[in-house]
Symmetry: C2
Subunit: 155 residues, 2 copies
C-alpha cells in the first residue's frame, strides 16, 4: 500500500492519532495496489494499520465525477456502514437501487452484494467502516463513564 500524505500527530499507550489531510485531496494524496487484483486504486486510504485500530477498518474514498465502482462485492463476517459526505449518486444492494447524497448512511449486512456510483459533477467523498457483524455488546452510555479532568487546552 502506498501512503503519500498521512502524518502521525501523537501516540501513547491508549491512543494513536494521525492526519490524512484535506478530504478534497484524497485523489491527489492516496493510492494503493489492490492485494488481489494488483491494480492501482486512486483516492482511497485505509487507516486501521496507521491508527492501530482493533475493532474497525475505516477507509476514506474519493470517487471521481460521473463514475462508478468497477465491481460489486460482499463480505464473509463483516458488516459495512457507508457515510456519504459529498456528491450524489446511487447505491445498490442486491436488487435494490436507491439515491444517496450528503448525510446518507447505509448499513450493509455481510452477504449483501453492494456497489455505488457518483452521478454528480463533483467528487463523491465517502467513509466506509468495516466491523464484525454482531460484535457490539454495549454502546453509548452503557459502556462509558465520566471522569474529572482538567483539560490542558486553552480555548
Amino acid at each position: 500500500m502506498t501512503v503519500h500524505q498521512m502524518k502521525k500527530i501523537s501516540e501513547n499507550t491508549n491512543y494513536t492519532a494521525v492526519n490524512i489531510g484535506s478530504l478534497d485531496s484524497l485523489t491527489t494524496n492516496y493510492s494503493f495496489i489492490h492485494a488481489k487484483t494488483k491494480q492501482e486504486v486512486k483516492g482511497k486510504v485505509f487507516v486501521k494499520e496507521a491508527t492501530k485500530a482493533t475493532g474497525t477498518e475505516i477507509s476514506f474514498t474519493a470517487l471521481p465525477p460521473k463514475s462508478e465502482l468497477p465491481y460489486f462485492h460482499f463480505h464473509n463476517k463483516d458488516e459495512e456502514t457507508y457515510l456519504i459526505l459529498k456528491g450524489t449518486g446511487y447505491y445498490q444492494v442486491d436488487d435494490d437501487c436507491f439515491p444517496i447524497s450528503e448525510g446518507s448512511v447505509i448499513r450493509v449486512a455481510p452477504q449483501g452484494k453492494r456497489g455505488l456510483c457518483n452521478t454528480s459533477d463533483v467528487e463523491m467523498v465517502y467513509i466506509c467502516i468495516q466491523s464484525k457483524a454482531n460484535s457490539l455488546q454495549e454502546h453509548t452510555a452503557d459502556d462509558g463513564g465520566r471522569v474529572e479532568f482538567n483539560p490542558k487546552w486553552q480555548i
Copy 2:
C-alpha cells in the same frame, strides 16, 4: 432520544439506508436527552438504532465555535475512533493534548480518558465510531469477494 430530521431512504433483508441531512445543520436538526444526566445535548445524532447496525455505534456531532465537551470519559469494552471533518482544536487522551483539524483520525483504547475542544470560529463537525475492542478478525480483501452484477443505475 429526539430525532428531528432523519429520513429512511430504503431497507431490505441485507441493508438499511437513512439520510441524516446536511452535516452543516446538525445543531439545528438534532438533540437528545442524555440517558444518565437527563440534560439536552444538541447537535449530536446516533445512527445504530436507525440503521440496525450490529457492529458499530456511529454518531455525528457538531461542536459550536470556541467550545469544549463538558466532560472527559472512558469506556469499558469499546474502542472509539474520531474522524474530524471540520474545525480546528485540541484532543486530549490522559495527559497528552494534541492539535486536531480536518482529516484527523484518533483511535482511543477503552480505558483512555478522552475529551476535545473546538478553538476555531466555525463549528467543529466530527464522526465517532464505537466498536468492541479486539473484535475485528478479518478485514479488507481477506473478508470480501467480488461478484458479477449489472448495476441498475445510469450514470
